[in-house]
């Protein structure tokens, strides 16, 4: 099954009189269970593409389908509902809620979906264990390193067992060792759970992990290749 299907997707931003194009007609399909890197220089449209896939944004033209549902015209509330249970995000900055502990940050999506306490506890502990941070459960973001925070963010992205996890430059603010750890965790989760991962990066160290690389340049797909 296709998780994402983009057809002739255009996205421009109106800034004053000027229309700035981020995507200029993209066709792309992401299948279930893929581990795909979207690469390209800054301003090539990677982030815009992830935001469209993640139902954070709507295209200016063309169609985006998520799990075979056309999400191009959905209003904010309906898109929020989709994101809540189906899509996980990992951002370049370690996007944790500052006042909450690691445990509570991972619990947040489960709270939003209304999961029962016992279920939440089980799931959060399992995920913190998976990313190797059980011991840090009660720590707040400012008490953790960047690498640890990003691993918590990955755990949070997976909390609701989403169909798709989108990671925007997940290693950009990490050193080599932490970057490697983060990529290995994502790779392992992809292999173990079959969750589809799409990550945007321009970090050459990250690309070898990808089984498929989609290259964007000036808002167009310039290369689309699969590795073994």
């Amino acid at each position: 099954m296709d998780v994402i299907e983009m057809q002739d997707v255009i996205r421009f931003y109106q800034i004053g009189e000027i229309e700035t194009y981020a995507l200029r007609g993209v066709d792309l399909t992401i299948e279930d269970g893929e581990f795909t890197a979207i690469v390209g220089p800054s301003g090539s449209g990677k982030t815009t593409m992830l935001q469209l896939m993640g139902c954070l944004d709507r295209p200016s033209g063309g169609t985006v389908r998520f799990m075979e549902q056309d999400v191009s015209k959905l209003n904010g509330s309906k898109r929020a509902d989709l994101r809540k249970g189906m899509i996980g995000f990992v951002f370049q900055f370690f996007a944790l809620i500052p006042g909450l502990t690691a445990y509570e940050n991972v619990e947040l999506p489960l709270l939003l979906t209304g999961a029962k306490k016992a279920k939440r506890q089980e799931r959060v502990n399992e995920l913190l264990d998976t990313v190797g941070l059980s011991a840090r459960a009660r720590h707040r973001p400012d008490q953790m390193s960047g690498g640890e925070q990003q691993r918590v963010a990955i755990a949070r992205a997976l909390a609701t067992q989403p169909a798709l996890v989108l990671a925007d430059e997940p290693t950009a603010n990490l050193d080599t060792e932490n970057g490697r750890q983060v990529m290995e965790i994502m790779q392992r989760l992809n292999a173990d759970t079959g969750t589809t991962f799409v990550f945007a990066t321009h970090d050459p160290r990250v690309m070898p992990y990808a089984r498929r690389i989609v290259e964007l340049r000036d808002g167009r797909v310039t290369e689309n290749s699969r590795h073994a």
């Binding site: 944004d57 509330s77 929020a80 249970g85 996007a95 500052p98 006042g99």
Partner: protein, 407 residues
């Protein structure tokens, strides 16, 4: 709802100093209003009760034609059978005491000074005389059969340079509208704690006042004190008869009550201004908080939180602040009112600027005004919640991608 609340409370705890300062603003605002309302309540009721005690009583019975402003002593304006009315009043269970009084206007003269006074003729043994008996500061109190003694206020004595034992000349207009004068001895000086009253009132036994003014057995009014001031209407109804004018403390203190009513507008305006300041502080705090947490809003949106949930979260934050602030404000204000209720606010000489009709005591005591406290607390809560709507709406309508871009 619960989980949003949890988030809201966490957010408040995160910036403790800011939350604390906002709390202080709400608490100080409400505390100030509670204090002022307590002071108002105390000064109004204190003045009314003081007035009831020293001059008006709870209920008065007068002849229908009696004109208070003229202090008329014409026979047709006076009560013919005061003792009968007193007996009738005393039969009522609500009545604590009833006594006839005679008022006359006079001129008091010493060696070279003269001053207008109100002559207050009353049986020195009557309960209505208690404030004078208890307020005696020099000399002796009057006996009912004293034919040549009077009491005057300490302040009046000081301004005339006389003291107990001195002689004064008193001139009155009698019932047949002829002036008459006599020499009296100042038996003693009193201080009721109500300067505006003490400065003009001369106290003499009723029987002497009746003879002096040639009123016979007549009286200007029957002054009645009740066990409960709320019974005034019942008692007034029972005593109503043709040719009589029965007034309650409410009628007799119209001037104070009207003044209170007039000042309510200004008070409400002041309440509004204070609450508006609190509202601005709250709105500002929350708006700052929204700006600071733009990125967080983006993350929460990415996790699937909707605009109206974001709105609810901010309103909950404001609501939590408001509730704690209201509790603190009530506490603070109550402490202030309690202090004013026990220690009082001593006005001293300032009290003498009041008129005899609106006699402030020298000390104003605060009094709890529960209804106003509830109203003010609710108003603080509602205004705080309203003030939070704009920042909350601002946060709620942020597009997730814009919020995430603010990184």
């Amino acid at each position: 709802m619960f989980r949003l609340w949890k988030l809201a409370i966490r957010d408040l705890g995160r910036n403790k100093r800011r939350s604390g300062l906002t709390l202080v603003a709400v608490a100080l605002g409400l505390g100030l209003l509670v204090l002022i309302s307590g002071l108002m309540e105390g000064s109004v009721w204190g003045t009314i009760e003081n007035n009831i005690r020293v001059q008006s009583g709870h209920v008065q019975v007068r002849e229908e034609s009696y004109d208070e402003d003229k202090v008329s002593l014409k026979w047709e304006d006076l009560l013919d059978d005061p003792q009968g009315l007193v007996a009738q009043a005393q039969d009522l269970p609500e009545v604590r005491a009833a006594t006839p009084v005679l008022w006359a206007s006079g001129i008091l003269a010493t060696g070279d000074e003269s001053v207008g006074v109100r002559v207050f003729g009353i049986n020195p043994l009557a309960e209505m005389s208690a404030p004078f008996r208890e307020g005696l500061v020099a000399g002796a109190f009057l006996a009912p059969d004293d034919r040549s003694g009077v009491l005057i206020g300490r302040r009046l004595a000081e301004s005339l340079g006389v003291s107990a034992g001195d002689h004064i000349k008193l001139l009155v207009n009698t019932s047949d509208e002829q002036p008459d004068e006599a020499i009296f001895t100042i038996r003693g000086l009193y201080d009721t704690g109500t300067p505006a009253y003490d400065e003009i009132t001369l106290f003499m036994p009723l029987s002497k006042a009746q003879t002096f003014t040639r009123a016979g057995e007549r009286a200007s009014a029957i002054v009645i004190l009740l066990n409960q001031k709320d019974d005034a209407d019942v008692v007034a109804l029972a005593l109503r008869a043709s040719g009589l004018n029965v007034l309650t403390w409410y009628d007799l203190n119209q001037m104070i009550l009207q003044a209170v009513e007039m000042s309510m507008g200004i008070m409400n305006l002041m309440y509004l201004v204070v609450l508006a300041v609190v509202a601005v502080v709250i709105a500002n705090t929350l708006l700052m908080s929204v700006f600071e947490r733009t990125r967080e809003m983006g993350i929460l949106a990415a996790l699937g939180m909707k605009g109206r949930q974001v709105l609810t979260m901010f309103v909950l934050e404001a609501g939590t602040l408001a509730m704690i602030g209201v509790v603190l404000g009530l506490l603070l204000g109550s402490l202030g009112v309690y202090y004013l209720a026990t220690e009082g606010w001593h006005l001293g000489e300032m009290a003498s600027v009041a008129t005899a009709e609106m006699a402030y005591g020298e000390t104003i005591y605060g009094r709890f005004a529960p209804a106003e406290m509830v109203q003010l607390s609710l108003a603080s809560l509602i205004i705080t919640l309203l003030a939070s709507l704009y920042p909350a709406w601002f946060a709620a309508r942020m597009e997730p991608i814009d919020a995430l871009r603010a990184l």
